[in-house]
């Protein structure tokens, strides 16, 4: 008889919780139409919440990393912490999605969101090249659909097509790289790859290069980022929020894990490569954002630059770098989701894409949203009273500690450039009168959307809170980073 391996259900519990939630959401199709949206949304939010809670439990239980199911995945605090971030992000995105004006397919939407979340939650715990690829495709396929979900809107479809094709191209590269690494080491598991005596350096390095490229694609690091602005702009805004925060978080964590666990011997090569990617992302993202008028595109370019910042932490290849990355992810996810949520609010009010011009006077009309967006912009620029400051500080510290002082300077310059557009948003919010608004708001007062307000509030709380409560987060990040063999 075949001995099926024992399954560590605790480690899988966040994934399963989300899959369960997705199942319930999907099954709500069977319910009367008026209930579908509520049931599926509630299922999704509970799924994400439960996943986060379970991940917290896993975190508490996993002081030492453990390989599970024949080395397919790992249960450690790194994965658990990333899962907590992903779970909370997902829950907030569900809240932000509630007010999307969509006539039907609610059940499918939330089910896909939960499934994508499940994929990411699984992905960050991947421990071999196959689960890595499958996890990646798992949530990517969900996202392809979600991006094109507003299929009555051409831009949404266009974004979906672009994401699918370019994403497929990227996956193929990642896959080919994995194949080459497999060929060189005859191993799939990360730790075995590190331990193996590679039969061929050429394969190993070429494969590593392709894996880095494939992951950089998901992180949307330049020059693999070009899909990002288009897809972010075209997607439904809440999906964009999810992608910008969760996808990036998952991809960065797994990048760190792959590089550190599987390729420690090649560190002197990939650290430089990642540092260069970081520098290019910083330059490209910030410069590109300067020329944008559409707020979602601005945020898309900004997310590219943030990818650069976080890659700086990866490039440090140190525990400090790991801590910095994990810390950075928290305020970044909050700010990113929050900013897109505010965009969604304005978008729903105006029934039109949100450009800088359409923000004129917004800060005075809707003080709550205005202050929130202000907070997020300042946070992304690394101003104090937001976690963005500490994120940058830690990332710079890690880079400096690793000897990449030049990268710190690039980061500093990039931040200075980034002020050009972050502050520009604030400028439009407060320093232009609403009379300059070229689009008349669709209705009188905006639709009340308390779910969205809660989402924005949560994002603000995390953004500001992570400034004051640094040490606990850092302790957790430190535990998580120590799961990797630095």
């Amino acid at each position: 008889m075949i001995d099926t391996p024992s399954v560590d259900w605790l480690a899988l519990s966040p994934t399963i919780a989300l899959l369960g939630a997705a199942g319930i959401a999907l099954l709500s199709v069977l319910l009367p139409e008026w209930m579908r949206k509520a049931v599926s949304a509630i299922a999704a939010i509970f799924g994400f919440g439960l996943a986060a809670a379970l991940a917290g439990w896993v975190f508490a239980e996993s002081a030492t990393p453990e390989l599970l199911i024949e080395g397919s995945m790992v249960r450690d605090q790194l994965a658990a912490m990333a899962q907590v971030i992903l779970g909370v992000t997902g829950a907030v995105v569900v809240l932000a999605s509630w007010g999307e004006r969509r006539r039907d397919n609610h059940a499918e939407y939330y089910a896909l969101l939960a499934t994508a979340g499940a994929g990411m939650v699984f992905f960050v715990g991947a421990e071999n090249l196959m689960t890595l690829f499958l996890g990646l495709e798992w949530f990517s396929l969900c996202l392809y659909i979600l991006v094109a979900f507003d299929n009555e809107r051409e831009t949404s479809l266009e974004a979906g097509l672009k994401y699918l094709i370019v994403g497929g191209f990227g996956s193929a590269v990642l896959l080919f790289g994995s194949a080459l690494v497999y060929g060189a080491t005859s191993e799939l598991s990360f730790s075995s790859i590190a331990a193996a005596d590679p039969s061929s350096d050429a394969f190993l390095f070429a494969g590593l290069a392709m894996i880095v490229a494939g992951l950089a694609f998901k992180i949307s690091a330049a020059p693999f980022h070009m899909w990002t602005p288009d897809v972010y702009e075209g997607s439904p805004t809440s999906v964009t929020a999810f992608m910008s925060a969760a996808t990036k978080a998952a991809a960065l964590v797994i990048t760190l894990r792959v590089l550190v666990t599987a390729f420690p011997e090649q560190a002197d090569v990939w650290t430089i490569a990642v540092a260069v990617l970081a520098a290019i992302s910083l330059a490209w993202g910030n410069l590109g954002a300067l020329a944008q008028r559409d707020l979602k595109r601005i945020l898309a370019y900004s997310s590219i630059s943030h990818a650069g910042f976080m890659l700086m932490a990866v490039a440090a290849n140190s525990e400090l770098g790991g801590e910095a990355l994990l810390y950075y992810l928290i305020p970044y996810s909050a700010m990113s989701v929050g900013a897109f949520a505010v965009v969604a609010a304005r978008e729903r009010e105006l029934q039109a894409p949100v450009t800088l011009e359409s923000l004129a006077g917004f800060g005075w009309e809707r003080p709550y949203h205005g202050i929130a967006l202000w907070t997020f912009m300042l946070g992304m620029a690394g101003f104090p009273l937001t976690g963005g400051l500490f994120g940058k500080l830690f990332v710079f510290s890690a880079a400096y500690d690793a000897g990449d002082w030049w990268l710190v300077l690039v980061g500093v310059t990039a931040t200075a450039v980034s002020l050009g557009y972050y502050l520009n948003v604030v400028r439009w919010l407060y320093m232009r009168s609403g009379a300059e608004l070229r689009l008349a708001p669709a209705g009188g007062s905006p639709p009340r959307d308390s779910a969205l307000s809660v989402a924005i509030g949560a994002a603000v709380v995390v953004t500001v809170g992570s400034f004051f409560v640094v040490q606990p987060i850092l302790d957790a990040a430190s535990d998580a980073a120590s799961a990797l063999p630095f």
Binding site: L134, I165, G168
Partner: protein
């Protein structure tokens, strides 16, 4: 092993990968781009299987099997998208899908 060395298979796979990549980069019909993507994935599959043979290790074959499923899923979604685009009376031409830019 009889016949050519594994290296020759790999060369075929590499060429196939290149042809697929060229297709993605050259063709304007999304359908053909999708097919080209399949070519690339198949090239990767061939690589995996060749290595599996070389090392006498089944993992590569299992990987390839999973990739087949993924490829199928990708095609399904891609086709769904293309149909949806067609319904919206959008031109099926990737060069025309450039409303999002800048």
């Amino acid at each position: 092993m009889d016949g050519p060395d594994v290296g020759w298979y790999l060369i075929v796979a590499a060429i196939l990968f290149g042809i697929g990549a060229l297709g993605v980069m050259m063709r304007r019909s999304p359908l053909i781009v999708l097919l080209s993507l399949e070519l690339m994935l198949n090239a990767a599959n061939l690589t995996l299987i060749a290595f599996a043979r070389q090392q006498g290790d089944l993992d590569g074959q299992i990987f390839a099997l999973a990739v087949m499923a993924v490829a199928a899923a990708e095609v399904a979604i891609g086709l769904g998208l293309i149909v949806a685009m067609a319904r919206r009376r959008m031109l099926l031409d990737v060069d025309q899908a450039s409303a999002l830019r800048g």
